[in-house]
């Protein structure tokens, strides 16, 4: 038995595949999903989405949205999502530094969100290189 994983953003479809297992960054923490999972609706946080096909892991950086699990069908509606090879690490590092600078980001909550997105991108890009 396998899971059917779908990762879509408003602009494109990133994944539509049979997978063995998915780890999804929920708004309130990571969710591990295996076949036979109960129907679930939730909000998506910012983080690494990992899925396994044939024992091999694949990584995506996702940033906010929704997820639905139903009948072994996992749908991830992300506001934005990137594959590791699409990530501009230089830019992410720059953003990370900017986030720590109170002159650029006056709102601390916004600064944290920017830093989190940058960290996720860097982590995902590095994962894929391992």
């Amino acid at each position: 038995m396998a899971l059917e994983l779908e990762v879509v953003t408003p602009e494109r479809e990133l994944v539509r595949d049979q997978v063995d297992e998915v780890e999804i960054p929920g708004k309130d923490g990571y969710l591990g999903v295996l076949p036979g999972h109960a129907a679930l609706l939730g909000e998506l946080g910012t983080g690494e989405l990992t899925y396994y096909t044939g024992g091999r892991p694949h990584y995506l950086a996702v940033h906010g949205g929704f997820l639905e699990i139903r009948d072994d069908h996992v749908r991830v509606l992300a506001d934005a999502a990137e594959r590791p090879e699409e990530i501009d690490v230089e830019r992410a590092r720059r953003k990370q530094q900017e986030a720590a600078n109170p002159a650029i980001h006056l709102d601390p909550a916004q600064a944290v969100a920017v830093a989190l997105r940058a960290q996720t991108r860097i982590a995902v890009a590095e994962r894929a290189r391992e």
């Binding site: 779908e6 879509v8 953003t9 408003p10 602009e11 494109r12 479809e13 539509r16 929920g26 708004k27 309130d28 969710l31 109960a38 129907a39 679930l40 609706l41 939730g42 909000e43 949205g65 929704f66 639905e68 139903r70 749908r75 509606l77 506001d79």
Partner: protein, 283 residues
């Protein structure tokens, strides 16, 4: 009777025009293909979002926490009409159909106060000259990104939440096929939640009302994004059709002018022969 040189000049000018229209047609065809791909790429997100929203709305309506401000229905006394036109012309009746539809809308809602939000240069220029009530305007987007739609939808939602408008309508051209565009008028606020046929018993990671708060802005944002995508595709399709017609019209004109030119040429030769012959006969 015009001289041969004049007619030749005329033919050359029509040929030049034909080359331009042919090139424009080809450019539009290439752009259309890409725009169409983007419309198709947005579909899975929309259909899934719709399903999720339907389920969350059912779950949220069970709890007695009052209606979401984006779903609250009011008497339509102040209406915001978002008109999406193209920036450029030469696309047949693409823009004028939309502008006419907008005028009809305003006339039909004479009892209400209609304010316009204009996306695209053509609509902006038209209504600005006529002194309509305009909330804001912006140019259209050649390659719309989701982040282009969110400022427009965000503004509409703010107006609605702050009780500054009672309804928001979206007016744009939908891409039906390469030869057909359809003017579409859709009410986006208050949000009408799609009906789910069979509600599923979900586990909710977050409370349904909280999820509804997060879902509705994205649903509205997607409506706006879709209108931009559809407009882009429809515009290229309309221009392609218009330029195709222009190219074949130019071809007809060249044929007609060539025929006329040959007649003029023959007439002048005949005239010369008669002159020579009668000149010889007179001697």
């Amino acid at each position: 009777m015009p001289s041969l040189i004049d007619i030749r000049r005329r033919i050359r000018s029509v040929k030049n025009t034909q080359q331009i229209t042919k090139a424009m047609k080809m450019v539009s065809a290439a752009k259309l293909r890409r725009a169409q791909d983007r419309v198709i790429a947005a579909r899975p997100y929309v259909s899934t979002l719709r399903k999720v929203l339907a389920n969350v709305a059912v779950a949220a309506s069970g709890e007695d926490t009052g209606e979401n401000p984006l779903m609250a229905r009011r008497e339509e006394r102040r209406i915001l009409l978002v008109l999406v036109t193209a920036d450029k012309g030469l696309a047949g009746a693409f823009n004028s159909n939309l502008i006419r539809a907008a005028q009809h809308f305003i006339a039909d809602h004479a009892q209400a106060e209609v304010t316009l939000e204009l996306v695209g240069r053509k609509g902006r220029d038209f209504f600005r000259k006529r002194g309509a009530r305009i909330a804001g305007d912006r140019l259209n987007f050649a390659r719309p990104a989701y982040s282009d739609a969110t400022p427009i939808s965000g503004k509409a939602m703010d107006l609605y939440r702050n009780n500054e408008t009672d309804a928001v309508y979206l007016l744009y051209n939908e891409f039906k096929s390469v030869v057909a565009q359809k003017v579409v008028l859709r009410r986006v606020l208050p949000v009408e939640v799609p009906e789910e046929i069979q509600p599923v018993d979900y586990i909710f990671e977050q409370p349904p009302e909280e999820m509804l708060d997060a879902l509705l802005p994205r649903y509205v944002g997607m409506e706006f994004f879709r209108s931009l995508l559809e407009t882009a595709a429809a515009e290229h399709a309309a221009r392609m059709t218009a330029m195709d017609a222009a190219t074949s019209n130019a071809g007809d004109m060249i044929d007609k002018l060539t025929l006329y030119m040959n007649r003029v040429r023959q007439a002048s030769i005949t005239k010369e022969i008669i002159e020579v012959v009668s000149g010889a006969a007179a001697e």
